[in-house]
Symmetry: C2
């Protein structure tokens, strides 16, 4: 909602514009310094070395409470509600930041920008996360323009000095558009590289970011091993990319699948009344997939013990629909070909087994390219069978299970035991994470685990944001400054630190 | 259609009823013997060894021309039209056969039975293939009853002497029903074992059965290696089972997916007017998936060369639908929430890239669990966007590609290079086979090939039929009787054999 957006930017103080080299102003303890202004020396040095901005990530943590006046998301549809959009506070970053980053995918554009805290005497600032629908990229550009204007107001730097780090397919498709509409420099970064830079950052620098999911322990935070490599990243957006990551900046796209978020959103927008992702997930949460899925028990009437298939195993997603649909049509008066009618008549006389589905209450009507749709659907509406929520649940299971299996198989082929799931498909949805986790556990016979992230949708955007860094930033930097214990210290330190209310306990 | 069925059975002579041991009456040359009657000795020996029937498969071949009066398929919906249902002639089998075999899956029941040729002075007979929809299992049972009655009329054997070999989940679910309604013995055989017994038979005993597919050479017949093991079978029915086969009767179900034929049929029955599988495939043949799928080019505006993704690669199946669907709704007068309207209004002012989809002409309307469906769909009908054929093409690609990828990954994990695709999903459909073939070639970088079968849907039924065999029947028998050359000789011999019009050249 542009209105909200402008207001938000108005109320959220944004860092002054010039890039500057702070030469890591953090103290070893990670305790905030009282310095809040940027020295002329810093500004000068920045003009000399514009590419060498460093984000001081020491002591970074996830903020539980939004800033007053923090914008609602760019739009309701793309909103990644809940904890996913929580800001990340960088208490020790005092340098000005003159770049923003955007990852423009097939369905969503994800934006990351740094801002000083409004009305705050504290030093540092926070990373803000915002998403827009890609087909409404102009809203996203408009939002960036206001970030830019705000920066001008704050530090008087010249328009040309805002730099947009862009990645994702849209950074190519909309390159000219962004440059023209904003009149700024757009630096494009490779999508896959940004994904792993972002993931490395979240794994190694952000406490309580990475977690495993189980129904009994839905957010069990993981602490990284001393060596996080090799690992696999399964990034689930409109489509799915699977990356093998062997080390810093060392990665390979080993596979993927076209059955991703775009497939779920697309099919459910045809099959249900939902017109946004969250409604679809809410419906899925209420649905019963066994109304539309064919279970092993539906075929065998029992388990298929010999090969270890339980009667509750899904044998065929949507496998019950075809038969029930034909029965529904047959109940109606519409004419098919003669043999079709014959068949239906004869089948009507039969006692059909396992008609538990007859209890379901509503079903999608279906289009006709050969008959008037309204009469056809009115007719079907009388004998509706499948609920939108049952369909949503089934499709969510089907796509999540499938991604889980392909991820597991790729991890076997490439010998990877750590599997991270990222991307806007997940959206912190319990059933999605549960299905992905279960698939990895099931196929690996408990040998492998699925890892999730609270900022799962922003790996690429954060990666692009952080590309304006010397290569030794972040964890690899932390190692140099004390290695593995640093992160745990921060975790422990914070858990008992009364001065740090913003930390999630 | 029961009517047709009875008539068909009436016109097709069926072998007399008693099981009998012919002690392999075939000659080494495979030339037919003139013997057409069953000796008392044979009948006696059968009564003593009822389990030791042998089907003489020497010289077996696929019959191009149906018998006069051969039944149309049990129903139009389940028909596996075209070459798939061609009979297999067994010119050297002279013994009576008193068993029939049925493989009852989640969607289809596949029946195999032996019959002497009607009005023919030739010895031998043929294997007949028939399929029914599982939810109309009584039609199938009725058909079996008439086979049984026919046998009685032919040889006066007692009702109890027809034996039904049954496999698939339905052999459990409908066990009592079949026994009760037919009053016969039902021997259940394991589904997976039957699949590989049937596949072994087709690979090793039936010339011109196994083939590879490519657009330039759509049916390139394969000749089996001396050793066909190990291989992988991907059986695609309602769901998908993937078997690793290491040797005769040595197999393991290594995986599968619930995204199979049942998913295609189920979703297309909701999204299109099609009410049978063949219509769905016909629609898919006419469709253009790029109207609904999001391609790499739609995201990047170009190739993503760095990771070798062409602009024509499908990034997200149905990935274009969500956005277009929302636009369609927005064109209408129906009210959403305010912010939704705001968003849509602002987006309407935008120049949206790549609107090639605006040319499409009809789209599925969608159910509403919260609004009157008829008005909603009437409203949508005015601004239809997606054609049933585009949707069918997209879903066929999505499911076939996905099965192909999982099959490839499983073959890598288990070190298998020969991948056979079976099951009623394929139905000899060029696009399906092309997609599966392409997926295997693409993922294996040309190192592996997909193999198909002309009786792909009947592996389990034939396996069950042949279970009444000594373990050394078939190819392994052929080896004993001359090994690998035997098959090639038969192929060569036939290709130049003017007396054998029935053979497909």
């Amino acid at each position: 909602m542009p209105g909200d957006t402008y207001q938000a930017v108005g109320s959220g103080a944004v860092t002054a514009g010039e890039a500057t080299d702070t030469k890591d102003t953090a103290t070893a303890t990670g305790r905030p310094r009282k310095e809040t202004v940027t020295s002329t020396a810093e500004i000068d040095s920045t003009i000399i070395h514009p590419g060498s901005v460093r984000i001081n990530v020491k002591g970074a943590f996830i903020v539980d409470t939004p800033e007053p006046g923090t914008p609602a998301n760019g739009n309701g549809t793309a909103t990644t509600g809940g904890y996913e959009t929580k800001d990340i506070r960088l208490p020790n970053h005092t340098a000005v930041v003159s770049h923003i980053a955007v990852d423009i995918g097939g369905s969503l554009a994800k934006l990351v920008y740094f801002s000083r805290e409004a009305h705050s005497r504290e030093p540092g600032g926070r990373l803000n996360f915002q998403s827009f629908e890609t087909d409404r990229i102009d809203d996203c550009i408009e939002f960036m323009r206001h970030l830019k204007d705000k920066q001008l107001a704050l530090n008087g730097s010249k328009p040309g000095e805002l730099c947009v780090m862009a990645t994702g397919g849209g950074s190519y498709k909309f390159y000219d558009r962004i440059r023209k509409q904003l009149g700024v420099d757009v630096l494009r970064e490779d999508e896959m590289e940004c994904l792993i830079i972002g993931l490395d950052f979240f794994i190694t620098e952000i406490p309580r970011e990475v977690f495993t999911y189980s129904e009994t322990d839905p957010m069990h935070f993981a602490q990284p091993d001393a060596n996080i490599y090799p690992y696999m990243l399964v990034n689930i957006g409109s489509g799915v990319s699977i990356l093998k990551v062997s080390g810093p900046r060392t990665y390979e796209r080993v596979g993927g699948t076209s059955l991703g978020g775009g497939t779920l959103w697309g099919l459910l927008s045809l099959l249900t009344p939902a017109d946004n992702f969250d409604d679809m997930l809410d419906m899925a949460a209420q649905g019963d997939n066994t109304k539309v899925d064919m279970l092993v028990g539906d075929i065998y009437g029992t388990d298929y013990g010999k090969i270890g298939l339980k009667s509750t195993t899904i044998a065929s997603s949507f496998g019950k629909v075809f038969r029930m649909k034909r029965e529904a049509e047959n109940d109606g008066e519409e004419n098919g070909d003669v043999s079709h009618d014959d068949r239906e008549r004869s089948s009507e006389q039969e006692a059909q087994p396992s008609h538990e589905h007859d209890t379901s209450s509503s079903h999608p009507n279906h289009p006709s390219s050969s008959r008037p749709t309204s009469s056809r659907s009115a007719h079907d509406a009388q004998r509706t069978r499948f609920t939108a929520s049952d369909i949503s649940r089934s499709l969510l299971y089907a796509i999540s299970n499938n991604i889980g299996q392909i991820a597991y198989l790729q991890s076997q082929v490439h010998g990877l035991s750590h599997i991270y799931f990222g991307g806007s498909f997940i959206r912190g949805h319990p059933q999605t994470m549960n299905t992905l986790s279960y698939a990895i556990k099931f196929w690996s016979k408990g040998q492998k685990q699925a890892y999730f992230l609270r900022h799962e949708g922003y790996l690429g955007a954060v990666g692009a944001f952080l590309k304006r860094q010397p290569r030794n930033w972040g964890r690899r930097g932390s190692f140099e400054e004390g290695g593995e214990p640093a992160l745990e210290d921060r975790l422990r330190g914070r858990n008992g630190n009364a001065n740090d209310e913003a930390v999630i306990m």
